[in-house]
Amino acid sequence: MRTSKVLKFLTTLGVVLTLVGAQAAAQEIVLTWPCIWVGGDAKAAPVKEIVDAFNAANVGKIRVDIEAQPNYDAYEQKIRTSLAAGTSPGDIFTFKLNPATSEFYKSPLVMDFSKDLTGTWAKSFPAASIKQATIKGQLKSLPFEVGVTPVWYNMALLKKAGVTKVPATSAEFWAAADKLKALGISPIAQNTGGTNAYITMLWFTQIAATRGGENVWSKPITDPVFVESLKDLKKMFSYANVDSVGAAPAIANGHFLKEESAIYSNGSWRLAPSEKDGPAVFSNLAFDYLPSFGTYKNSVPMFLQAMLAAGETKDPARRAAIITFLKVLTSPDSVKKISLASGAMFTVPFTFQAATPVEKGMQRFMDLVQKASFTVPNLEVALGPAAVAEFGQLISKYVAGETTEADMLKAIAKKLED
């Protein structure tokens, strides 16, 4: 009898708790964010902090769940295949905007922010970046992270080789490379592997910009500017790390941080990791424009590195929750937090005093942008993943002398026809 009463009580309690739980769950909107800023990424900690604070402030109403996706290539693949398969990759996600990913704007699965981005939220973004992210009147992604990729010099190694200042001309650049090579190190870090031959692609971009100017990418890829740029790039490979062909970007990063290479190019997001993993190198860094190989001086690659996007929803409450979170994430306070912790740069401006070494590095990047004659997007952003994949494959053949500049550029042009 007593047992029966206890059982009845427990059953009732279970039913009540389930109903209460279901009610609470029904009220709380859970947003998934497949995110690359996780694990060892320099932005991981501040992003987690922002998400945790947001979740704490919205308990029972909105919760953002980060789905860790630490591999950049795999992440991009997931976004592409999900959208192609007719599935939203998540409530919030990021991608690089280029001629191929602009196809995402055609997907009904991607939210259009054009009516949401108003008032102070709209004012927090530079108008030029919003214009860049708007395609046929649709704003299906918000310009968030900016890539600025000048040349990085390890001044300690340069001084050891007898070079006391950053090369200002191409002649000085090659002379410095010769002296560094004589020291027994590989002067210039390169990599042709991965999906975009990242570091080598950045070098090519910089050379082409100094030869072709601000609108270099509007020229046909078979233009003599690119032929000459390839010749310069080939010369650079005679000073590159021995494993540059086929190497992932991490290999080039590693050579630079281990002082096996002295000249390198990458974005400001590498500042914090460099300070952590190569403090000796970090304390001797200098950043500058690539000396002119042609007629144009003081240019630096600058491009939209990460766009924030959201999964379309017909549920107004869910839509409002997504917008609420994105407003928090793109607020100057959040952006400042992520930026200062990682060294990454963003479209949303914020004020800061360059106090720490990473912040001083960021300040230098900003100065380079401000003082630049012009900025250019990199090859991948300008021409898309198919062109850069072909570039990455053929550059190894080209530097090995197995194909000519003309044939390599013709092959890239063929890819662009698609």
């Binding site: 192609a84 062909v245 898309g384 698609d418």
Partner: protein, 296 residues
């Protein structure tokens, strides 16, 4: 009697139905969808546009795809005619039960339970031009190879990946060892009485008796070779200069470039290529199993 047979037939259909539904849903339907996309221009998002056989035409006139076809053929041949014979050799040696044969069997099979990703990463390190094991071993004899970049030079990259792959013979070794244990012992006893040596016995009894299993193993190995993807993708991404690319890599790259129509065409060619090669292999070597004849 007839009713019982009908009922049995109904049971067979009922039991097969779930598998049949799954097969249609997850194999036949995707196959037809792939065939449909192969004649379309489709970015994966938005509408498809019918373009006839243009995707196939483009692929067959593309140098990279031709290279991938050639590499797939090399992979299939290497898997079928290097990996399987190596497995046979080891299976025969271990079947003689030398000292420690159990441990060797485990060692040879061990790579089959290790992730392909881990193995590919390990071999990338072995081939590393700066601190790789291979160069360290070769450098004292061939000083020029001290910093040779095996995976970075088109001439050696494909051979380097295939070499690491065909060494993993464990799976076929186990199949062949299991089959060899079923060979009637009387055949060996009779051969011994006739004065045949162990080597003669292997050539005259073991290998002919394993013919059916060998053909099956070679078929499987070649099928794996044709659809090869992981190690190449992880070790070279199909480079340098597409020298290691395969149809699987081309398919992946087409999807990566949002060329889903062309990716569908690659998939169909891959299926046709694989089927053709297996049919050819069975036609040449036959599928008759001497072992089943012996047991009858």
């Amino acid at each position: 009697m007839a009713r019982s047979r009908n009922r049995n037939g109904l049971y067979i259909v009922l039991f097969l139905l779930p598998v049949l539904i799954l097969f249609v849903l997850f194999f036949v339907f995707p196959l037809f969808f792939t065939a449909q996309t192969s004649v379309m221009k489709w970015k994966g998002i938005g509408d498809m546009e019918f373009i006839g056989l243009r995707n196939f035409e483009r692929l067959f006139t593309d140098d990279t795809f031709q290279m991938a076809l050639g590499n797939n053929l090399i992979w299939a041949l290497a898997s079928g005619f290097i990996q399987v014979p190596l497995a046979l050799l080891v299976a025969i040696l271990l079947n003689r039960k030398p000292k420690g044969w159990g441990a060797f069997r485990t060692i040879f099979f061990l790579p089959n339970v290790i992730s392909a990703v881990a193995i590919a990463m390990m071999w990338t390190q072995v081939y590393n031009p700066n601190h790789g094991l291979l160069n360290a071993l070769l450098a004292p004899i061939f000083p020029d190879l001290a910093h040779y970049h095996w995976l970075g030079v088109p001439a050696t990259a494909l051979a380097a990946i295939i070499a690491q792959s065909v060494l993993y013979i464990g799976y076929f070794m186990i199949i062949l060892m299991a089959a060899a244990t079923n060979i009637p012992i009387e055949l060996y006893e009779a051969a011994e009485l006739d004065g045949a040596t162990r080597t003669q016995q292997e050539f005259a009894i073991t290998i002919p008796m394993l013919r059916g299993t060998l053909v099956t193993s070679a078929t499987l190995a070649m099928a794996y070779g044709i659809r090869h993807f992981e190690a190449t993708f992880l070790m070279t991404g199909g480079g340098p200069a597409y020298s290691t690319t395969t149809m699987g890599i081309v398919l992946f790259q087409q999807m990566d470039e949002l060329q889903y129509g062309r990716a569908g065409a690659v998939a169909l060619i891959l299926i046709a290529f694989g089927t053709g090669m297996i049919v050819l292999l069975r036609a040449i070597f036959g599928s008759k199993d001497p072992m089943s004849d012996a047991s009858q």
